[in-house]
Symmetry: C2
Subunit: 341 residues, 2 copies
């Protein structure tokens, strides 16, 4: 198989390249593609150096599958034509997620969406994946009615430049942490990526403000669960917050269901759920954190509690590596489902 | 007036001492008290050095008011006797908050609780205050029915030792941020305060695990709003999360009300609410963050949105300085209400 990675030098592209090798995806020819800025760099694949080429339809010609993580506008610019030319495009951006004829799939949660040989498949938002890996099995058992989410999203969700901005700001502020109790607003570093200081702060804006005061990120994680779970009437609300963590997203959720469901039942369901590792044993101080989820291929789920006086509602906390499980791994798993089952 | 600060060398005690001076509370005699560990240190008050004495009923004798921030077990050990001896004790700990005859007050939200010359008054939890300053005015207008909270709490909520633990861990990990995408679990620093690595992570456990898998902190912020708003049947659920921020708590909330309430109405109410500064203008990129709330005497409230398809429900985000507005300032404002109106 001829496999392209588009955006291969980015944070998610690097993980896609790693994961194709880790999982022994049957790659006969590896095509590393990126913007003109990165063309000419080299990428290691299976022990050989490959030169990165600039993305074009010509460069993609003959590719069986393209794993794409280059931003929504780049995806829009080439995916429809590449798919028409025969390349199955698995896209990590938001460009096609809500298109009715494009599957939006987490293979552990809604593999049925991948039936019918789709030529374009969308990978959900990284926070959506972190949430749905935990919620999917509970929904199948008890019927999800509503979902309230507050996220704790790492800076690598904004790519390398997000990680660099955090590191630079930490370098500036480390040693002055105690003075941040009365910060001099004019002296606080503000970068181009996060809009406010992200070091030693949390920033309740991801993406641009849009309809009704929601951010772009919030609108994604509100819309996507309805499509993934095939629940157009689901009630969802979300607040998306950036936190000064390099890798690993977390999401605090309150979910209501069609019938009573206890924490014990939820734990039993999640203990055997694919893509999930249950970390929920308060008596032994076991609960998940995003730094512990970094580098893993599963979401860590814990803090499962009954909502007071609500036998039909649970609170829970899920953490996943936003670059791997929340993006690159989902893309590779979709490719596996389509090509190697 | 003879005014004691108990726990005067702590993070909140220092702010109490500052705020008494900033607000010109009528202090004739200043009594700085602390544990034996801190006895003999000096504290500046109105330009004079005062020697810290060890806390005892003898040392408190004759004090008109004691502002106390020394932890729940210390508070339990002396407040009932000190109050019986005539000292009005305003306590920042959780020791007496849920006692039926002890007012739990945020003067801007429920000043009525302070009527009747109480001798013990409890200051609510810092996250409760951050939430209630925003919710109180909305409740008075539209009747609060339910509240879902996820918090983003700074390390100074655990005192100086919390701030130190963050600084030490940042010192260890700074320069290795990119490796935290695949962390070596055995090499991650874990301190005594937070149980997990708090630098570059978030920790979804504050206090100890208790009933139903809730933490001590969560049980406080679930119980306290019911008492403050005099709504024993209120539905509240909370997830309390520590974040690597030195000072400033944030809380993401979804609130439902007895009647429809729009973001515009909520903004109009909060624009004139005491103790609140509205920071909510998405068109001009205005929204609050905890680092911006640090050092302020108001909660910054923004990100007000209608919950989709729910005219009776709002999402919002409130940030406050957990040492000042969330603790020390509330205590001084209670003292002002009781003694200087």
């Amino acid at each position: 198989m001829k496999v392209a990675v588009v955006g291969v030098t980015g944070a998610v592209g690097r993980e896609m390249t790693r994961i194709l090798q880790e999982r022994h995806f049957p790659v006969d020819e590896f095509l590393p593609l990126a913007s003109s800025r990165s063309a000419g760099l080299t990428v290691d694949f299976d022990g050989e150096e490959h030169m990165v080429r600039e993305l074009s339809l010509e460069a993609l010609r003959g590719a069986d599958v393209a794993l794409v993580s280059a931003g929504a506008s780049v995806s829009r610019s080439f995916i429809p034509e590449a798919a028409a030319a025969g390349t199955t495009c698995i896209d990590n951006s938001s460009a096609f997620r809500m298109e009715p004829d494009v599957p939006l799939s987490i293979p552990e949660v809604n593999p049925e969406a991948l039936e019918g040989h789709p030529k374009i498949v969308a990978v959900p938002n990284c926070t959506t994946i972190t949430a749905m890996l935990a919620i999917g099995p509970l929904h199948r058992a008890a019927g999800l009615r509503s979902l309230v989410m507050s996220s704790y999203q790492s800076v690598s969700g904004a790519g390398w430049k997000g990680t660099r901005e955090l590191i630079e700001q930490i370098a500036k502020l480390h040693g002055q942490e105690e003075e941040l109790g009365r910060p001099d607003a004019d002296a606080l570093p503000v970068g181009e990526v996060f809009g406010k200081t992200i070091a030693y702060n949390v920033v309740a804006k991801i993406g641009e403000f849009a309809d009704g005061g929601y951010t772009g990120e919030e609108l994604k994680i509100i819309a996507e669960p309805k499509k993934i779970l095939n629940l157009p009437e689901l009630h969802v609300v979300a607040t998306a917050v950036r936190v000064p963590v390099p890798v690993g997203h977390a999401v605090s959720m309150v979910a209501t269901f069609d019938r009573p469901i206890s924490p014990e039942e939820a734990r039993a369901l999640l203990a055997v759920a694919p893509g999930v590792e249950l970390r929920d044993d308060p008596a032994n101080d076991v609960y998940p954190s995003p730094l512990e989820a970094a580098g893993l291929d599963v979401a860590l789920v814990g803090r499962i509690r009954q909502v007071p006086d609500r036998p039909d509602a649970l609170a829970l906390f899920s953490c996943a590596d936003n670059l791997r499980k929340g993006a690159a791994l989902d893309a590779v798993q979709i490719a596996e489902y389509l090509f190697t089952r």
